[in-house]
């Protein structure tokens, strides 16, 4: 099953710079989601291998691979698995996070629709490694088709004893069920997800103490991993951790899927070795450049929560290098060093036709809608920021409203239960910091004058001090 023998559908050929692992079967000619097709292609061979391995040996391979979570935070998967308390006597659960709802991210959907057994195999191996005998796929409600496909895949896997009792004669039992969400972004946050799976409102839990690996579902150790992360586990078993770690760059190993949307000629998904392509190569080579006659203005590089990058920025790195936006290698560490994050891999490109106030307002509306409401700074602040940016877009704001936006965001970050607080502040902070003049250009100073005039009148009447 050499990679060369794989044919893709017309017009859907991967770009020459891609390295397909988890997306190997996406858009593949003659490939379908059935187990027969998957087995013909060497499917479940890695599971056969894994159940003969020591559990700790699997965890060690995943650690050696350097795999970092593909759901957003980029936390090392093997390290997370190692956090299950060694003295634990409670049941262990594993949850596949298939909530895929970070704006700009569209990768897990294709794996689930086109290659469901890759996910099932990756999950069963992962469950075996962490000794989970019950696992769930938490899938967003807006993926009804994917839920059906996965349901069928699980039935097929059960019928072949890749799931159920005494899997492949190993004495290991495992059940996996699908659990559908109901349209709330916060269910993607792992502790919100767990509350939701317990049948409650998805109010995130505070960490510490509620790190899922110690106190998760039903207060038992629980591993939550993204769809793409769990698929990588299968390839790590196939290649060995050390060999896998040769893909990508140091501390940013393996491949990952970049999802590009916005103002480029050919938006789409690209699986690349982490850090081996630059932003410029993604935009110009893989996506065919900007729309004709347009120039780049801004990029949100890792899902809507990542801080925006301005086209003419220069990024000074600790090692003395200075990068332009097009030189940034697409990896976790450099993107963080440039003041943003690689996040979920969702790259949103904006050209010079876009108003930054309008863009920020669109995102503020998202966060105002999705705040779960537990923490006052997030609940009130996200709505307040939306209202101010509404005003800016409508041309009814004063220049100080723009600064007020930034002040509000600064007062949310770091003061909330979950990372949604950062997620909703970072767009506002970065858009205002980098496009302050543009945002102020559409505002009216008379509005401020009128407020001051009103206050002066009240003061004259002795009504305010």
């Amino acid at each position: 099953m050499s990679v060369e023998s794989v044919q893709y559908l017309p017009g859907k050929q991967p770009h020459a710079r891609e390295r397909r692992l988890t997306f190997r079967n996406v858009d593949r000619a003659g490939f379908d989601p059935s187990i027969e097709c998957y087995l013909r292609d060497g499917g479940y061979e890695q599971l056969h291998k894994a159940v003969t391995m020591e559990r700790q040996a699997i965890i060690n391979e995943v650690k050696a691979s350097g795999l970092r979570g593909r759901g957003g935070a980029g936390f090392p998967t093997g390290v997370k698995w190692g956090f299950i308390p060694p003295t634990n006597t409670k049941p262990v659960y594993l949850i596949c996070n298939a909530d895929e709802s970070e704006p700009g991210t569209f990768k897990d959907r294709y794996i689930m629709h086109q290659d469901p057994h890759q996910l099932v195999e990756g999950m069963v191996i992962s469950c075996f490694a962490v000794k989970a005998s019950l696992a769930y796929i938490y899938i967003r409600e807006e993926f009804p088709e994917a839920a059906k496909i996965l349901e069928k895949a699980l039935d097929e896997a059960r019928a072949k004893n890749f799931l159920g009792k005494n899997i492949l004669g190993s004495g290991y039992d495992l059940e996996i069920y699908i659990h559908r969400g109901a349209g709330a972004y916060i269910c993607g946050e792992e502790t919100g997800l767990i509350e939701s799976l317990e049948g409650k409102r998805p109010y995130p839990r505070i960490k510490p103490p509620y790190f899922p690996a110690a106190l998760g579902l039903y207060m038992c150790p629980t591993i939550v991993n993204n769809v793409e992360s769990l698929c990588h586990v299968k390839h790590i078993i196939a290649m060995g951790g050390a060999e896998y770690a040769k893909l990508g760059t140091p501390n940013n190993t393996g491949t990952r899927i970049l999802c590009v949307s916005g103002d480029v000629q050919r938006p789409g998904y690209f699986e690349v070795e982490v850090g081996k392509v630059t932003m410029g190569e993604v935009i110009n080579d893989m996506c065919g450049g900007m729309k004709s006659g347009r120039t780049l203005k801004a990029i949100i590089p890792g899902g809507s929560s990542a801080k925006v990058l301005r086209a003419d920025e220069k990024f000074k790195l600790k090692d003395g290098r200075e990068l332009g936006i097009m030189d940034i290698p697409m990896d976790f560490d450099t993107m963080a060093a440039c003041g943003s994050m690689a996040g979920s891999g969702g790259v949103i490109i904006m050209d010079d036709s876009r108003s930054m106030s309008w863009v920020l307002n669109n995102l503020n509306a998202f966060y105002a809608h999705e705040s779960c409401g537990q923490c006052t700074p997030c609940r009130e602040g996200s709505l307040w920021m939306k209202k101010i940016s509404d005003r800016i877009v409508a041309g009814n704001a004063s220049p100080s409203d723009v600064d007020e936006l930034e002040r509000l965001a600064n007062n949310i970050e770091g003061r909330t239960i979950c990372a949604f607080g950062e997620a909703c502040s970072w767009p506002t902070q970065s858009f205002v910091q980098k496009f302050r003049e543009e945002m102020k250009a559409g505002t009216k100073s008379e509005i401020e004058d009128r407020i001051v005039a009103g206050e002066t009148e009240l003061a004259a009447a002795g009504l305010v001090g």
């Binding site: 569209f106 999802c259 789409g268 998202f366």
Partner: protein, 168 residues
């Protein structure tokens, strides 16, 4: 106490009983049961809330608080075909607000009363209902929308009539 009556067909209840076995704690079945209720009755009314609570040994408020939190659950009847248009950035840049406008115009839907707590607008003939959804995870092919469980990509605003024509 007001007693709510609800007729749940045996087949539907059998599905619910099966789903409950997926969880070591019954309360976890709240969302799946509500999905089954909504699929069958098209929305979730007070009778259904009480019924699900009884089924799972919960207080009705423990079910109601779930229904009111999640945008995916509806407390009033939608149209025969329910439409969700993606509102978020990539789709908005590709024209999803224009798509929303064009769908509403074609289906004669008035969205002027829509707010955070009442996101759905229904056409006068009850055939279509519509709401904005947040990022549907297909940002590379916007604007996207869902009609019932069907997913539609790259729906140009001028294709609204053609799209609705498929749902009679």
């Amino acid at each position: 106490m007001i007693r709510f009556r609800m007729d749940v067909p045996g087949e539907l209840e059998a599905k619910m009983d099966e789903v409950i076995t997926h969880y070591p704690v019954k309360r976890s079945a709240v969302l799946p049961l509500l999905h089954l209720v909504q699929q069958h009755f098209r929305h979730i009314n007070d009778a259904a809330v009480t019924w699900v609570a009884n089924k799972l040994g919960l207080e009705p408020i423990q079910v109601l608080e779930v229904v009111t939190f999640y945008p995916g659950f509806r407390q009033s009847a939608p149209g025969k075909y329910h439409i969700r248009v993606c509102r978020t950035l990539s789709c908005a840049m590709a024209g999803s607000y224009e798509l929303m406008e064009s769908l509403c115009k074609t289906a004669n839907i008035d969205r002027s009363h829509v707010d955070h707590h009442h996101p759905i607008a229904v056409s006068p003939d009850g055939k279509y209902s519509i709401e904005f959804a947040e990022c549907l995870a297909s940002c590379g092919t916007g604007p996207v929308c869902m009609v019932e469980d069907d997913f539609h990509e790259a729906v140009a605003p001028e294709k609204a009539a053609e799209l609705l024509g498929k749902y009679q």
